[in-house]
Amino acid sequence: MIPAPDLNLSVLLPIILVAIGSMTILMGEVLLSRADTVLGREVTESFIGTVLAGTAIFFFALTLWASGVAFAGGGVQVFNPDNPMYQLDPFSSFVTAVLALSALLSCALSITYLSELRINHGEYYALIMLSASGMMLMVAAVDLIAVFLGLELMSIPIYVLAGFDRRKLRSNESALKYFLIGSFASAILLYGMALLYGVSGGTSFEALRAGFDADNPMALVGLGLVVVGFAFKISMVPFHQWTPDVYEGAPSAVTAYMSVTVKVAAFATLIRLLAMAFGPLEASLETIFWVLSALTIVVGNIMAIIQENVKRMLAYSSIAHAGYLMIGLVTGTIEGYSAMIFYLIAYTFMNLGAFGVVVALANRGNDCERIASFAGLARTRPGLAAVMALFMLSLAGIPGTAGFMGKFKIFMAAVNSGDIWLLIIGVLMSVVSVYYYLRIPVLMYMREPEDESHRTEIASGEGAVLVVCALAVLALGLFPNRVPTLLFGDLDVLDWANRSVGMFFGG
C-alpha cells in the first residue's frame, strides 16, 4: 500500500480551470453539432465557433478571478510538500492573471477573423487553452521537469495554431519552421538541464541553488544552454531568425496571441529561474546578458526600419522590445525585475492592440499586410486609425502612454545599477524606432486612401478588445499607480509588479 501523499489540489486551480475549459470546448463542439432540434435553430459552423469562443472566454475569466484572489491572499503554497514542483505564490498568480487576461482578449479577437476565413473550429480555442495551461504551469514551476513540461505544453499547440489556416502555403511554412526551430531549442534546453542535474544531483530549484557553483565549468555550460533554449522562445538576437517568418505566415489572430503570451511566460520563467535557482547573477553571465541585450535592441530596431509588411515590422519590433526587457535581467535587482513585469503588461496591451487593428482590417481572410495599405485610413476608418496611432505611439515610447512608462522604469533600473551604456543604446534606438512606428500614423493621416479592400465594419469582439487595450495603454501611461476602474476602485499596477517579484528578495 502506497501512503497517499499530502496533496494540495486547490493550488492547481488556475491550470485545472483552463484544462477543464479546453475539454469542455472539445466536447461542446461535438454536442452542439447535433443540437439543432434542441436549440430549434440551424446550427452553423460559425455559430458553434462563437459559442465555444464564449466558453473559452468564460473559463479564462474564471482563471483570472482565481489567480487574482490568490494574489490578493499572498503567501506561498506548494502542491506536494514532499517534492514541490509547482508553487502558487504572488509571482506565479500575478503572471497567471496577466496570461489569462491576454488569452481572453485573444479569443475575443479571433472570432470574426476565423469565421471570415471559415476556420472557426472549436479546436482553435481548445489549443489556445491548452497552451495557456502550459504557460501557467511553466511560470509557477520550481522544478526543471515542470519547466520543461510546461514549455512543451505551451509550444506544441502554438506550432499547430501557426499552421491553422491550412489552405495558405505561408501558414504551413510558418508552422513547420516554428516546429523545427522550436524542437531544436527544446533539445538544447533539455541538454542544459541534464548538465545542471549532473552538477547538482537534483532537478528542483532548491537543489540547483545548493549545488550551483559558478567556478564549475559544466554548471556554466548547463546554465548557458538553458538560457539559449529560452532565448529562442523570446527571440533574442542571434536566435531570432525564425520570428519574422513565423509571425508573418501565421494567421494574424494567432500572431497576436503568441507574440504576447509566449514572451510573458518565457520572461517570467527566466526571472524565476535566475532568481530562485542561481541567486544573484555572476559577473560573467551579466556580461553575456549585456551583450545579448544590446545586440537584440540594435538588430531589432534596425531591421524593423526596412520592412514593408506590417506583421514583419511588428515581429522585428517585438524583438527590439525583448531587448529592452533583457535590460531588467542584466540589472538583476528587484527594481529591474519589477520593471520587467510592468513592461510585460504594457507590452501585452500595446502589441495585442496593434495586431488587433491588423486583424480588424483583414477582409475575408486577406490580411491587410502592406504598410502602404494603411494610407488614408483616417478618412475611411477614423476609429481604427486613432487607436492604431495610439498603439504605435506607445510602442515607440512617447510620454503619456504605457510604453513610455515601461521604458522609463527599465531605464531607471539600468541607471541605478550603473549600466549607463545600456541606457544610452536603449534611448538612441528608441529614437530610431520612432521613425518606423510613426510611418503608419503619418500614412493614415496625411495620405489619400488607396484602393484597398478593408473590411468596412468592426465586429463587437474586436471592438471590445481594441477599446480595452487602448484604455489600458492610456491608463498605464498616465497613472500607473492608480489605474481607475469603475468596478474595483483604483488599481496600483506598479505596486503589484513590485510585490510579485518581492518574494525573490525576501519581501
Binding site: I2, P5, L7, L12, A19, L26, V30, L32, S33, R34, D36, T37, E42, V43, T44, E45, S46, I48, F79, N80, D82, N83, M85, Y86, R118, I119, H121, E123, A126, L127, L130, S131, S133, G134, L137, I145, A146, L149, G150, L153, I156, P157, Y159, V160, G163, F164, R166, R167, A175, L195, G198, V199, G201, G211, N216, P217, M218, A219, L220, V221
Partner: protein, 177 residues
C-alpha cells in the same frame, strides 16, 4: 575496464548511426539507422542500471515510433524517387561550428570535478510507478494533457474538410453536415 570499453564502443556506434540518419539520401535507410541508434540507447540504459527504461525505450521507440515512421514513409507514394537532398554548400562551416561547440563543451566537462554520486541499484518498475503517483504526480498528469494537445494538433493538421470550396457547413439532424 570492460565496462568503459563497452561504453565507448556503444557510444561510437550510436554516433555513427546518428550521422547516418542525417546523411542518408534514402528515407527508409535513415529510419533504419534511427532504429539502430534507439536500440543501442536502450542498451546504454541497461548499462546504467535502468532495465525498465531500457524496456520502455525498446517497446515505444523501436516498436512503436520506428514502425509508424516506416509505415509513413512506405505509404507516401514514390518515396524512393524523392531522394533527399543532403549535400549543401554549408557543410564545411556547419561541421566546423559543430566541432568547435563540441570541443568547448568537452573541455568544460573534462575540467569539472564531478561529485561522486553513489551508483544506485537498478530501479524497479514498482519504484517508478510509485514515483509517478506520488512525487511526480503533477508531471504525470501534465504529460497526459500534453499528449492530448499533440493528438488534437495532429488531427487539426490532418483534416481534409478545410479544403472544400462549398459554402459554410450547416449541421442538421444527427450531426451530419
Amino acid at each position: 575496464m570492460t565496462e568503459s570499453l563497452i561504453f565507448f564502443a556503444l557510444a561510437a556506434f550510436i554516433l555513427l548511426g546518428a550521422v547516418r540518419v542525417v546523411a542518408s539520401r534514402d528515407l527508409v535507410h535513415a529510419v533504419l539507422w534511427l532504429a539502430v541508434v534507439l536500440v543501442l540507447t536502450a542498451v546504454m540504459f541497461l548499462m546504467l542500471g535502468a532495465p525498465f527504461l531500457a524496456g520502455v525505450q525498446l517497446l515505444l521507440y523501436t516498436g512503436g515510433v520506428i514502425t509508424l515512421m516506416l509505415f509513413g514513409v512506405m505509404l507516401t507514394r514514390r518515396h524512393h524517387e524523392i531522394g533527399v537532398e543532403v549535400d549543401s554548400s554549408r557543410r564545411l562551416p556547419g561541421a566546423l561550428g559543430a566541432l568547435a561547440l563540441f570541443g568547448a563543451m568537452a573541455c568544460a566537462i573534462f575540467r569539472t570535478d564531478l561529485p561522486a554520486w553513489p551508483s544506485s541499484a537498478p530501479v524497479s518498475a514498482l519504484e517508478i510507478g510509485r514515483a509517478f503517483l506520488t512525487d511526480h504526480l503533477i508531471a504525470f498528469e501534465v504529460l497526459s494533457i500534453l499528449l492530448l494537445a499533440a493528438m488534437i494538433g495532429a488531427i487539426v493538421l490532418g483534416r481534409q474538410s478545410d479544403f472544400g470550396d462549398e459554402p459554410e457547413t450547416v449541421y442538421r439532424k444527427g450531426g451530419r453536415p
